[in-house]
């Protein structure tokens, strides 16, 4: 019987400070045992449990993309016990990785569709994974227009800046970067994510899906904007977070109604979410 609680041993291969306030770091892991990377085959939108022996386990969205091989990446906000410990760890340290867990953005359904991605703050991790996946030469032709609205407080709080700049230069993805208030040397939009969405996002049609990830406040103000643009609830895709332990639907804490966020989610359509208690 395979033990779904047993993490793969991994080594920290690289650590990058991801934001100017140093509250986020991106960790690159490599698997210690041959064959484990193949077993960890994942899809954009899934998460994993980062498992630090002696400290604990935390669910974190996978920030690297299925098309990137040889490593997996996570971007982690320093907040409580495990994340603070992780921020103090060094390149070369050994820990565990359990997953991939949960469902993913519905890539089969999304094929042939236009995609609007809306991200706010540091909830851009699995969105990065998704964009890199869609822009991969083997995949780009499978999707229609790709629009990305991504906002942060300041330029220094945007994640993956080098890539954002690269994507800005491409003509097969429409980037709408924004910051909350004016800043020197900022050539893009200024304003909150919902406002920029209103101004820049494409009108909805039957072939356009919106994927939204961000802090609760951003989601609250973005949903009415999407509604005004004509997006139906089954065309709006969200990724939820709840406190988790097992990540595999066993321990009973992460449910919204009969759905388990860890196993039936974290990805749900707004239509599905509207049928369940708002316990997230």
């Amino acid at each position: 019987m395979e033990n779904p609680y047993l993490p793969y041993p991994v080594r920290i291969d690289d650590i990058e400070v991801a934001t100017e306030d140093k509250s986020l770091k991106t960790f690159k892991f490599v698997f210690l045992n041959e064959g484990d990377e193949e077993k960890f085959a994942y899809q954009a939108g899934q998460f994993a449990e980062l498992s630090i022996p002696g400290v604990g386990e935390i669910p974190i969205g996978i920030a690297s993309s299925p098309v990137e091989k040889g490593f997996v990446k996570f971007t982690v906000f320093k907040s409580g016990v495990v994340t603070t410990h992780l921020h103090q760890m060094k390149v070369g340290d050994v820990m565990g990785l359990r997953g991939p867990l949960g469902n993913w953005y519905p890539w089969d359904t999304l094929e042939g569709k236009n995609i609007l991605i809306i991200g706010g703050g540091f909830a851009f991790t699995t969105l990065r994974s998704s964009i890199v996946y869609m822009l991969d030469p083997a995949n780009r032709s499978k999707f229609g227009n790709i629009d990305v609205v991504y906002g942060a407080r300041t330029p220094g709080m945007l994640l993956y800046k080098d890539e954002l700049v690269e994507w800005e230069k491409r003509d097969d993805i429409n980037m709408h970067l924004t910051i909350d208030t004016e800043a020197p040397n900022w050539d893009y939009n200024v304003g909150f994510t919902p406002t920029i969405t209103e101004q820049k996002a494409p009108q909805a049609d039957a072939d356009t899906y919106a994927i939204v990830c961000g802090p609760p406040i951003m989601i609250r103000f973005t949903l009415p904007v999407l509604e005004n643009l004509g997006y139906k609830n089954d065309r709006i895709i969200l990724s939820l977070e709840n406190r988790m332990k097992c990540g595999i639907g066993m321990c009973g804490r992460c449910n919204i109604g009969k759905e388990l966020v860890c196993k039936d989610g974290p990805v749900f359509t707004l239509e599905d979410i509207n049928l369940t208690p708002k316990e997230y």
């Binding site: 993490p7 022996p53 709840n242 097992c246 009973g252 208690p277």
Partner: protein, 348 residues
Amino acid sequence: MKVIKIDKAKWASGVSSLQGTYKIIGPAVDGDAHNFKELAKGEEPDFNFLNTKLSPKSIVFPQSEKMLEYSVDENKEDHHIMKEVKKDYSPRAVVGIRPCDAKAINLVKMNFDTDDYKDPYWLKLYEATTFVGLACDKPCDSCFCTSTGCGPYNEEGLDILLKEDGASYVAKALTEKGETLLGAAGFSDAGDEAAFEAGKKDAEAKITSSVQTDKLKDFSTLDLYNADFWEDLSFACLNCGTCTFACPTCWCFDIQDEVKGKDGVRVRNWDSCMFPLFTMHTTGHNPRGTKEHRVRQRFMHKLKYFVDKYEKGIMCVGCGRCVNQCPVNIDIRKVCDVMNNHVPEPVK
């Protein structure tokens, strides 16, 4: 299906002869009540009980259980690498489990044994165990098993059903595991199946308490969730967790790391939806931040979410433990009836 008659005079020696092959777990006096425990050589299961105070779920789901182990000693080559813990999964038999508790284990199995994932700890203990049930001829006042899809002679989840019959026991082997155990104990005299039929009728007639569950599946989740009765139903609750602790169908758990010196273990412990920390986010936001939320979660899980998810009825076998042990008399029978009789607001 084999039916065997066991002379009570030969019972003790038969059970004791099993102890070379099986660990025997049975009801025993524990303070002011009975509870299940591993019996010492020669110790007989004490059948002079109505039901145990705690459910026997700990036989397959210990209250605290090691999951993984590791060393944090950087001088060791394999430091910080998690490993499986060696465990004893030798055969064991629980002798005297009540039919409701056996059914409960069957219900909980649906959580731990899924198409996507198998919980190895729960399943290995389950597979190692032979369940020898003891029919209830004297149900307690608070039992309502006959209206929960169970009953005092229910056979689900059992390998053997045992019933007292004057100077003997009659044993019905329900599975191969059960037959093996009876053989190993040297019990082989043929018994009469009719004893079960008569006993079952009498016992069921003694159960006077019931719940109505027929309409639960027809409500929309949000109709029940948003109903106006939750504040009232949860008003007295202390969120003490006694109900979930005692309940045979509650399975929620927590996972924690513990380190002594340089040796670490990852353990799981029973947890409860009644505790605020159960769902508290790191940000301080708590999706079930009030006791009303938490009481609602317990009953909605048992009486609605579970019903919809598995289509196997409610997640309660009617053992009555939570009814008897709740310090403020919150009664699932009442809650169930309130939910079942709910009249949703007409859609405007």
